[in-house]
């Protein structure tokens, strides 16, 4: 079952989650893009709107 040959111990100080940083940066960009699209195009681009 186990694949011992591949398993190695990586401690706290030798681990830089660079992959996580990559993924989360992509997520950040998606969030900002989708927010701008939804708020400014879908919402503010739609009308009429409640103004008072």
């Amino acid at each position: 079952m186990a694949t011992d040959r591949e398993l190695k111990e990586i401690g706290h100080d030798e681990f830089d989650p660079v992959g996580t940083l990559t993924l989360i940066t992509v997520y950040f960009l998606i969030l900002v893009g989708m927010w701008v699209l939804t708020y400014f195009v879908e919402f503010l681009g739609n009308g009429p709107t409640v103004v008072g």
């Binding site: 681990f15 992959g19 993924l23 989360i24 927010w35 939804t38």
Partner: protein, 574 residues
């Protein structure tokens, strides 16, 4: 401290046989609710799009109430109490203090569910004047049979007693041990403190207003007040569903990935933030309510936006823990390490896909939180599109995946088929992508939620770039895949239990965090401090709005009647 290993590789079942029985009973209660709730779900999805219709549109709302209550109350919370019992017992490594008390709260919860369930199911039978077609939100003056409210109250009392059980274990553990609260117990305790604060709202609403009113003791209620009290509870309850999933992502998922939790201190910070911020946000469900000043809505929005923080932090910590596993398994590069993750394991793949869907649900939640953009999406299909990603996938799929992992240590049975398990979790993901994508898009063009009919007489919805028919097809196909996925899950589980007990044991120890509790400030474990701050924020967010609602409309409302949703009493259907 975070993850004391069971001595040797003893199964939870062997070390804590009585507790394992309670955990199994709770999980089975959850799965019965899941099965019935899923059945209601497919009936609804196919009726709503007009594909398969064998119920009357008036009965759609009975089905919807059943679907909502069973899945978001019974399924989630029964799973929660089972999981929390497992987590407290194993992380403190001590049995519950009194197993009869433990069974008592479990049975109280069952009794509450049965009472409310009878009231809801009565809605299908015209000759029985019992019904509760009030949906999960039960807004007055729609009125359910008193059994519904009583059942809800009994169920919640059961959860309170369960919380007491876990606190008692911790109090006694503390008198015998030094040091930090073990992480899993910390998560359980903070979640329960949040729950105690949150349920004050629904308890007041049910005990002082809705139950006496449904019994005829008081004539009328203030609909805005009971609605506000509902949402006081109604938002934190979504975090109550989510916290067990978080507990699994923080403490189990890293281990399944072959790694260790990246940071124990940040996990604690996240749970403390949830305890503090989950409740003073409920008014964000009422952005479009008359009778609440814009300033109060703005305060609720600010709190809600900051409540994003713990989830965003979780995204980093959990993904980093998975990455740690992947790298220990030989993964390399910026993204190719993802290939080194154990995708064959349904427990891993299920939780990872659930987390991914939660990231997508996070986005639609951010839109829901944005005060004025609610004019666009409030009460449209966008909203169920959102929460089918959160509670419907982040929570439900994580629970199913975790069940695959928990099964051997609770039942001494191996999962019958890992392949079916893998297909099941992937099928859930695909089904939900289709369904929730269509719901979000339908919401943007104004198609409402909670309605039995796909179209109206006087106008047609304009679906812009695609067509309403295409969106309906996505909902129908997605809903069907989800239902099949639940059937596969339950079937796989039942067959596993029919198999012979396995020999030997499985390693279910949880390795300690990379950055352990010793790195975190002691103050994080000062639960009274966080409760005090949480209560203060609740007072700040709610005392003025509730004061204004009562001042304007009176405690029992400015004049309303009751509208029992009972077939034989109400002759309204046109």
């Amino acid at each position: 401290m975070t993850s004391e290993e069971l001595p040797g590789e003893e199964l939870f079942l062997d070390r804590f046989p009585d507790e394992a029985q309670v955990v199994r009973a709770s999980l089975w209660s959850a799965f019965v609710a899941l099965g019935i709730g899923a059945l209601a779900g497919i009936v609804q999805a196919l009726h709503r799009v007009g594909y398969v219709r064998f119920i009357d549109s008036a009965d759609y709302y009975t089905v919807l109430t059943l679907h909502g209550v069973l899945l978001v109350i019974s399924f989630t919370i029964f799973f929660l109490v089972g999981l929390f019992t497992w987590a407290v017992t194993r992380s403190l490594d001590r049995p519950v203090e009194n197993i009869r008390f433990t069974w008592a709260w479990y049975l109280t919860m069952v009794a509450g569910t049965v009472l409310a369930g009878v009231a809801i199911l009565g809605g299908f039978v015209d000759s029985i004047p019992i019904s509760a077609d009030v949906l999960f939100t039960f807004y007055a003056p729609l009125q359910a049979h008193p059994l519904f409210y009583a059942g809800l109250a009994v169920f919640i009392i059961g959860t309170w007693l369960a919380g007491f059980d876990w606190f008692r274990s911790w109090w006694i553990w503390r008198s015998e041990n030094d040091g930090r609260i073990p992480l899993q117990t910390f998560m359980v305790l903070t979640s329960m403190l949040m729950w105690y604060i949150a349920t004050i709202g629904v308890a007041i609403s049910v005990v002082f207003f809705l139950l006496p009113w449904s019994l005829g003791i008081i004539d009328q209620v203030n609909p805005l007040l009971t609605r506000t009290l509902f949402w006081y509870f109604g938002h934190p309850v979504v975090y109550f569903w989510l916290m067990p999933a978080y507990l699994l992502w923080y403490t189990v998922l890293p281990s399944i990935s072959g790694g260790r939790l990246f940071s124990d201190p940040l996990a604690r910070v996240v749970f403390v933030l949830f305890l503090i911020l989950s409740t003073p946000v409920g008014i964000h469900h009422q952005y479009l309510d008359p009778g609440i000043a814009e300033g109060f809505k703005f305060i609720a929005m600010t709190n809600t936006m900051f409540l994003l923080l713990p989830s965003l932090l979780t995204a980093f910590t959990v993904v980093a823990s998975m990455e740690h596993g992947a790298r220990q398994r030989g993964g390399e590069g910026y993204l190719s390490w993802l290939g080194a993750l154990p995708w064959r394991d349904p427990a891993f793949t299920g939780m990872a896909l659930a987390g991914l869907m939660f990231a997508a649900g996070g986005f639609s939640g951010m839109v829901n939180a944005g005060m004025n953009i609610n004019y666009l999406i409030h009460n449209t299909l966008w909203v169920p599109g959102h929460f089918h990603l959160t509670v419907g996938t982040a929570v439900a799929l994580t629970f199913m995946a975790a069940t695959y992992w928990l099964l051997p240590q609770l039942t001494r049975r191996r999962l019958y088929s890992r392949t079916i398990g893998l297909f099941q979790v992937v099928m859930w993901f695909v089904g939900m992508v289709l369904m929730s994508n269509a719901m979000h898009r339908a919401g943007l063009v104004g198609i409402p939620r909670r309605t039995a009919e796909p179209q109206y007489d006087g106008f047609a919805f304009d679906a812009g770039l695609s067509s309403v028919a295409e969106l309906d097809a996505q909902v129908a196909i997605g809903g069907t895949l989800l239902f099949v996925s639940v059937v596969l899950f339950l079937g796989n589980l039942i067959i596993s239990l029919l198999e012979d007990p396995m020999e030997g044991t499985v390693d279910r120890s949880l390795p300690p965090a990379l950055s352990g509790p010793e790195d975190s400030p002691e103050v994080l474990d000062n639960l009274s401090l966080w409760v005090a701050i949480a209560l203060l924020l609740v007072l700040l967010a709610y005392s003025l709005p509730i004061g204004a609602i009562v001042a304007d409309g009176g405690l029992f409302g400015p004049g309303t009647e009751s509208y029992p949703v009972v077939l034989s009493w109400l002759e309204v259907v046109t």
